[in-house]
Symmetry: C2
């Protein structure tokens, strides 16, 4: 049995207002005149009070990233190509936003130094060279993308990450003030991404004491803020940010499970956003995660979030097949959830029935 | 208010038997013919079954480190000097042992590339150059030295660490099998180091949500293994190893407190080992940590460990003064424990009375 040697992010800064230290953090990482490129979630396009705090210097560039859809390999290649044409090389890529922006920033950083298309690197340990210096600054918490060794991308053939030791950020800035004004539904869906992956990780077969300690802490924090507390305050933001970090770390020696695998299919075919897709699927997974699903339903009730229904209605056989193929492409997730014999438990027919319910 | 930008260790591998992957982990870090140097706690001198598993290659050297006393700057300088004279440079320094060996390995790595004596770097951010590649492999858990940014050393003038961003390990190997055969008392004292620093960190004034989440997890694990469980088994080792890691991480945005400050004085003057010293002091700190001390006494009772008493009996005024000076040199610890006005609360007289009780 071989254990994964887990690459950590380089630096973490955590604290209310720590975003104000960004200029100082970047300074020693600037390489002469080469600009720092800020990839900022387009949600902030008209939020001038925030945008004016981004420490642009010299030839630095600010790009509002279109994350209406989750990042595509084409979009990654386009941004990296444009930056290479304009500057040759850059000092660093700074992602400011939710999980999609984090992933986009990691992917663009890698494509500044690796030849070809990002689609060539969708998989495990295919990336050849370290990317340029990269920083992740979440403005939505829950995905764990700030600490993960992947960057989920939709390519021409698959939805799969660039998993590698070169993928984690060199620096993350965890400032709970930045997630304060997230839209309530968005915050819920992203928070549930964390909750769901804790359940999947803690009930999975891959778990060990390292991942368990992180997963339990993240779950406890999610329960506290989404179930026990009666209002959302600064303390909730502080804890959600830590839950996301700990939830992400728990993946070191575990895996997500059924909800994530099935949700990837929805996302690939219908463009369903990851957080929403997970909720749509998890809502129907009593068979696999009875306690977790019950608790999840309590949280949706408390937050009065209406999980979308009937989104697969009217799809063709080909379309169902496409989703099933994507979901079954994620063998480690199924093995973690259902054990080595997962294929006997989750057949194509059974998965089709599940997709039809969604 | 400024937040610390916390440097993480490079890689973590956690798992029973992960020590067997050490050869593979070192391979890409070997620089031509330059040897890897293994600094191994002298406790293992006659443990051939273990020593034979250390993956020596080529000119690699194995040094049994004398950690009868906690590491001194002189000892660090001597080892680094000898290695530089023999090899010029080395591929890496691998520390295998308890907290003293971890600290020794970190310090020797730094002194392979920094001029002068390690005593010149006792303090905060004085180290100028990255050390050589360094790996920490704990065979005792509790100190948190495997993740810390310091390396506590006794120098000619003070007991103080080389605190810097260059200090953390590039790699740690957390294999719970390695702590299985630790002597019971030693395991207790080292485990209590973790317990005590969790209490000091969680009850300190510096705490934030990041450190709290780690501290709470570590404390929960300590309680489970030292209080709730009735026998010590593999699961206890798994959890103690994680408690030590999480306890160490919790120090990122917190500090230890009264027990550590007072214990440093004992250690400086009498050579009292850190874990034992903490226990001797903590046993008398009801005033500052009432609940923690009560719980601590339950654990000592359960483990039938007799905490040494009257170790300061017969000391001279000069000797008491020396301990008081060392303890008061650690202002951040006192400030964390007692707030900005700590000097009004803890006077020299009061501290002298405390030392006399020990």
């Amino acid at each position: 049995m071989k254990f994964r040697n887990f690459k950590m992010i380089g630096y973490v800064i955590y604290g209310r207002g720590s975003f104000n230290q960004l200029d100082e953090i970047l300074a020693p990482n600037r390489k002469g005149e080469a600009p720092v490129v800020f990839l900022v979630d387009h949600f902030f396009r008209d939020k001038e009070a925030f945008v004016s705090r981004i420490p642009l210097r010299g030839k630095d560039e600010l790009i509002f990233a279109d994350v209406t859809n989750e990042p595509k390999t084409k979009y990654v290649d386009e941004i990296a190509g444009r930056l290479k044409a304009a500057f040759g090389s850059v000092s660093g890529i700074i992602g400011i936003g939710g999980g999609s922006t984090m992933d986009l920033a990691k992917a663009v950083s890698l494509m500044m130094t690796n030849p070809g298309s990002s689609a060539d690197y969708q998989g495990w340990d295919l990336v050849k060279h370290p990317g340029v210096y990269k920083v992740g600054i979440p403005t939505l918490s829950g995905t764990g993308a700030e600490v993960s060794r992947t960057t989920v991308l939709t390519g021409p053939a698959k939805k799969l990450g660039m998993n590698s030791d070169f993928t984690p950020f060199d620096q993350i800035v965890l400032d709970p003030e930045l997630i304060k004004n997230a839209p309530v539904n968005q915050r819920f869906y992203t928070g549930m991404d964390c909750y769901i992956h804790c359940i999947e990780s803690l009930e999975g077969t891959y778990l060990n004491a390292f991942s368990k300690s992180y997963g339990e802490k993240a779950l406890e924090l999610c329960r506290e803020i989404f179930l026990e507390k009666d209002n959302w305050d600064d303390d909730s933001d502080d804890k959600l940010m830590m839950a996301s970090y700990a939830g992400g770390m728990s993946i070191a020696y575990s895996q997500v499970g059924v909800a994530h695998a099935v949700s990837y299919g929805l996302s690939y075919l219908l463009g369903t956003k990851h957080g929403v897709g997970n909720c749509i699927v998890f809502d129907h997974l009593e068979e696999f995660y009875p306690t977790g699903v019950k608790e999840f339903k309590k949280m949706t009730e408390k937050y009065q979030v209406a999980i979308p229904q009937n989104i697969t209605k009217g799809l063709t056989d080909e379309q169902f097949d496409a989703m099933i193929n994507v979901a079954f492409g994620l063998a480690p997730l199924w093995e973690n959830a259902l054990g080595k014999d997962w294929q006997k438990i989750m057949t194509r027919e059974k998965l089709r029935t599940l997709y039809e319910k969604l």
